[in-house]
């Protein structure tokens, strides 16, 4: 066997035993390249910090309690936005997906308002609500809402008519069909909507925090710019990526594995 193949099979076995390894290993070349460029001194260190600088800054901000606090603020805002977005988005999506009248009335405005991106609302929101929590909450709920609604509608419509018919001829009432057939049938799409919504929402939140913020990861990064601290900006960027990876791998992916994938509705 040639060495490359041997190394690959070793890697495959190792990642099977320690799945976290599969998430970390792909970053080795990225960090290595970063480190080499920083160590080569091509750019001034204040403009282009090296990995140890960022780790030091991370330890410093954790020690001072700033990073945990800001991170908590951002995550809490995302959670509130996600919860509110789902609480409004899923019922609205079910209504629009099931009722022809609701679809006729609501679909055009949904498309219209979807196009007015989160950030495009900021100018008017700042006038209405000022620089505060209300503005940020509006932005994130708004951003989460549309992908959830549109994907829920898609999911409701993707449930085969035969399943409705089967349930009806087994004696199911309309409300039972909603619970037993429509909702589980639409679930893979609802999760896709949630994944998109949270992804967009997370980005919109960081942007809103930069402009509106008094706390949060976005504020941390923008504040660091004012202080000229590139290392904190880089740290903020890494935190953003890391946090999303955790949300995806620990929350969304397990839900998908337990539902749509298990039922054979989505391919693995």
């Amino acid at each position: 066997m040639n060495p490359a193949l041997q190394a690959w099979s070793l890697y495959a076995r190792a990642t099977k035993r320690w799945p976290a390894l599969a998430a970390l290993v792909p970053f080795i070349p990225v960090v290595a390249l970063w480190w080499i460029v920083a160590a080569a001194g091509v750019f001034p260190r204040a403009f282009f910090p090296s990995p140890p600088d960022v780790v030091r800054s991370f330890a410093d901000l954790v020690y001072k309690g700033i990073l945990p606090e800001y991170l908590e603020d951002s995550v809490a805002r995302l959670a509130v936005g996600a919860a509110a977005g789902m609480a409004i988005g899923i019922p609205l999506g079910l209504l629009v997906g099931l009722s022809r009248k609701a679809h006729a009335a609501l679909w055009p405005p949904l498309l219209f308002f979807q196009a007015i991106g989160d950030i495009a609302w900021l100018p008017i929101l700042l006038i209405w609500f000022g620089f505060g929590l209300a503005t940020m909450t509006f932005v994130i709920v708004y951003t989460v809402l549309f992908p959830v609604v549109l994907n829920t509608v898609l999911g409701v419509r993707s449930v085969p008519v035969e399943l409705h018919r089967a349930a009806l001829s087994l004696g199911a009432s309309k409300p039972r069909i909603l619970w037993e057939v429509v909702l589980p049938g639409a679930l893979p799409n609802i999760i896709t909507g949630l994944r998109n919504g949270l992804g967009y929402g997370w980005r919109a939140l960081i942007a809103a925090e930069m402009i509106v913020g008094t706390s949060g990861v976005g504020f941390l990064m923008f504040d660091a710019r004012r202080a000229g601290s590139v290392v904190e900006i880089v740290l903020g960027m890494i935190v953003l990526g890391l946090l999303w990876y955790i949300v995806d791998a620990w929350v969304l992916a397990p839900i998908e594995r337990a539902t749509g994938q298990r039922w054979g509705l989505v391919t693995r």
Binding site: A167, L168, A172
Partner: protein
Amino acid sequence: MKSLAIRNLSKTYFDAYAGAHVDAVRDVSLEVPEGEFVSIVGPSGCGKTTILNMVAGFIAPSSGEILVGDHAVAGPGPDRGVVFQSFALFPWKTVLENVAFGPKMRGVGKPERERIAREFLSLAGLSHAAERYPNELSGGMQQRVGVARALANEPDVLLMDEPFASVDAQTRMTLQEELTRIWQERRSTVLFITHDVPEAVFLANRVVVLSKGRVLEEVDIPLPRPRRWDALVESDDFKALANQVLQLVRSA
């Protein structure tokens, strides 16, 4: 079990592409006495699935009347169990939960409906698959679940819409033999739709040949039961009846 009566049933569609009205079913009358197995056979587009969809209550007739016992059909209901060509199992429910679905909708408690479901799974030879999800089963096994699910709800009439059309030929023969066995045990009133002439003859007491939305002819099938393929393929009676029906279908 009850009888099924179809009286002067018609269905006219408006075909938006052709821009014209299409008579899918024209003045069809048909009796399925209690406990009888009737097959409707005909080429694609002869209206056989439209008839089944009207009997099931999925689409409304343009005119005519459908009676289950002495009760007129208006919309879908649990008195008519349906087995679909596409199986139509709920992918998010296990095999057991699928079969228990009808009793669950009737308000039967969990232990009792699971007992019922296990009974019908055993009738369909599927006891070992109770905890699996439909997507983990072969097509033939999925349709066994479809039949068990319809029967577990104790319908007055069983409607089957080309149920074995999408399984392989060997499995199809096995399923047909199992269906005749189950029918003999339970004496359900069955309306079975197919385009497969040997299948229609093998299963039924009576075969109705449909052509262009009309009943062309009804052929009685007095073959003895239990029916098994290895015996019937050699039988002159079976060959003669299948040939008679085939000629009718081809002339249609």
